[in-house]
């Protein structure tokens, strides 16, 4: 069994940021509370439509991420629903305290779009890549953290964020690249509900973001050898779909986490914490391993940080050996 919303082929790649912008314009047309804020960050082609149609609800604050976030909290207090856009590292890195104090603590209805998260976009190098956002923000009380895996789920995540009352973090990958589309448009997307992309009995890959596509590839590759791998798209980092995770632990007995983020405190950390307390199983974490990224092409950096399908496959095969060892 697998999600009925999975595309038959993975032959289409789309830009998640474009999908987000599309949703944002549609939202702004029907709801005058939607405001789009930027920290000298490209609004994208569709974002420019937003600027033309509703110039008063389009704020560029310049290169000032701290002000970007607190200003948005002020807009939210005035009854608006601001979406802020900036490089993820500068949103989390420079405005962590503003996110915590002005947005999370006061539960302001601000949607913080962190763009260019992860390392899989080599162009601007380690100063602009971001690996620690999940660890940092997961510990902030009362934040909802979304990490969509493709353009379809990203568009739906944007709508869901707008409809959700309270602070939301939307974690997006590279704004300059297209990423494999895995879902059909009728995807049933709900905050806090992980999507079982593919059913399996021997192990479960819990992936988030654009690496869900690679996880799926690995599961498909392993099928002919008789290995049945479940794949969960953990598109909501917080609140975590604990029941889906525990069910995976109980039913498959081996978990592999996959993320374009640091395994320290990231999705890997979250899954390990949860299962250690509620259903201890073997866990292997594929992600960025306590290191910074590199300049290079997206493909080069992805390989250099060991995030490609062969590394995921190696982790699955390794954990299956562990599982067998433990059963002896």
């Amino acid at each position: 069994m697998r999600t009925p919303y999975l595309r038959a082929k993975r032959d289409v790649a789309e830009n998640l940021y474009a999908a987000h912008n599309r949703a944002l314009v549609a939202l702004a047309r029907r709801d005058a509370r939607i405001v789009s804020c930027y920290g000298d960050f490209p609004p994208g082609e569709v974002g420019e439509i937003f600027a033309k149609e509703c110039p008063d609800r389009f704020w560029d604050v310049g290169i000032a991420e701290g002000h970007l976030i607190t200003n948005a909290a002020g807009l939210a207090a005035a009854g608006f629903i601001p979406f802020t856009h900036c490089h993820g590292i500068f949103g989390v890195g420079r405005a962590y305290n503003q996110i915590r104090q002005n947005v999370a603590y006061d539960q302001r209805n601000v949607k913080i779009v962190l763009c260019n998260c992860g390392v899989i976009w080599g162009g601007l190098g380690p100063s602009h890549q971001l690996v620690e956002d999940i660890a940092a923000l997961r510990a902030v009380p009362k934040l909802t953290i979304l990490s969509p895996s493709d353009a379809v789920s990203c568009e739906k995540a944007t709508y869901a964020a707008a409809e959700h009352l309270g602070p939301v973090i939307l974690r997006l990958p590279s704004t300059g690249d297209a990423h494999t589309t895995i879902y059909t448009n009728d995807l049933d997307y709900r905050i806090g509900k992980a999507i079982c992309v593919r059913e399996g009995a021997d192990a479960t890959i819990l992936a988030t973001g654009i690496l869900v596509a690679d996880a799926l590839t690995v599961a498909e590759e392993l099928e002919p050898s008789g290995v049945s791998v479940r794949v969960l798209d953990v598109h909501t980092i917080k609140p975590l779909d604990e029941e889906a995770v525990i069910a995976a632990a109980r039913e498959t007995g081996a978990l592999i986490t996959v993320e374009d983020a640091s395994i320290l405190g990231g999705l890997g950390g979250a899954i390990s914490e949860l299962t250690a307390e509620r259903w201890p199983v073997v866990v292997r974490r594929v992600g960025v391993k306590d290191r910074f990224g590199e300049s290079g092409t997206a493909a080069q950096v992805k390989a250099d940080c060991q995030l490609t399908a062969p590394f995921i496959r190696k982790a699955v095969e390794g954990i299956l050996r562990d599982k067998v060892q433990r059963m002896k």
Partner: protein, 285 residues
């Protein structure tokens, strides 16, 4: 001027609030006496004269907003909003207690408080967002292309500390307010010349705040911020300014009102029965 009676009345109110806030500080056994007393006249003139607000409707969308960016100086603010009727005076006794609405930095749990402070240097950015929102008018659903400029639904007042203005974000906000021509925003800088651990000029000399705000495109006035008549006149001036945010540099005295505390290290001081007695004696009507 016909303001005499008003000024006298506000002066008496400010004295009363200072006096009562001592008991609030006593709840914790320590308090931000210095900053509370320096800003007391501005807080009084705002809440009991200039601001449009209604304590029976704390969430009224068109109320003027008070953003106390120097959020530690909260005891005088809590005392004032209790006086205004937002919270029962009895509740002042719960200040600083676990679970209380009156937390140890201004906190939106408390009706009448629009901004949770404590992390310095952020309030002006919040005020810019709030003031911009007052011009957007778009809160009614299903309206597109709302009209921007006229009129603003409400005004926003932001009380800044001179110490907290070491923080760079104050100046990001200052640039932004002027860029967006937010004339419904007034910042009042409580220039009491002391911060947590000593004189501001020794910690980080910011030189002229008036020059700074002016260079960022603000209209600026410098006043004696403990002279009620000057405070009232400056607030009246601010609402007449068009197309620019206004900064009132309020030169104040840390611990104003109790001579033995004035200009001493009274930023966060131990509040004993003796301190309360000395203070209340000095602040008698």
């Amino acid at each position: 001027m016909g303001n005499d009676a008003l000024v006298k009345d506000l002066e008496a109110k400010a004295r009363k609030l200072r006096r009562e806030s001592l008991s609030v500080m006593k709840e914790m056994g320590a308090g931000w006496l210095g900053g509370c007393f320096s800003e007391a006249d501005v807080v009084t003139a705002l809440l009991f004269y200039r601001m449009r607000h209604d304590s029976t409707k704390p969430g009224w969308p068109e109320r003027d907003r008070l953003i106390v960016s120097k959020g530690h100086a909260c005891e005088i603010v809590y005392t004032a909003i209790a006086e205004a009727g937002y919270v029962p005076k009895e509740e002042l006794k719960t200040y600083s207690h676990t679970g209380a609405r009156l937390q140890t930095h201004v906190n939106i749990r408390t009706p009448g408080i629009d901004y949770s402070g404590g992390s310095l240097g952020l309030g002006l950015s919040f005020a810019v967002g709030s003031a911009g929102g007052a011009y957007m008018h778009a809160v009614d659903a299903n309206r597109t292309a709302p009209s921007r400029r006229y009129p603003a639904k409400y005004r926003v007042y932001c009380i800044l500390g001179d110490g907290e203005s070491n923080e760079g974000q104050v100046w990001e906000a200052a640039a932004s307010a002027s860029h967006h021509r937010l004339d419904n925003l007034t910042a009042i800088l409580d220039h009491n010349r002391f911060q947590s651990t000593g004189p501001t000029a020794k910690k980080l000399d910011m030189l002229s705040f008036a020059d700074k705000f002016r260079s960022f495109g603000w209209e600026v006035r410098e006043i004696d911020g403990n002279d009620m008549r000057a405070v009232v006149e400056a607030l009246d001036w601010a609402v007449t300014v068009r197309d620019k945010p206004q900064a009132i540099i309020a030169h104040t005295v840390k611990g104003k009102g109790v001579p033995s505390f004035e200009n001493t290290n009274c930023h966060f001081m131990k509040i004993t029965d003796e301190v309360v007695r000395i203070g209340q004696e000095a602040l008698k009507d």
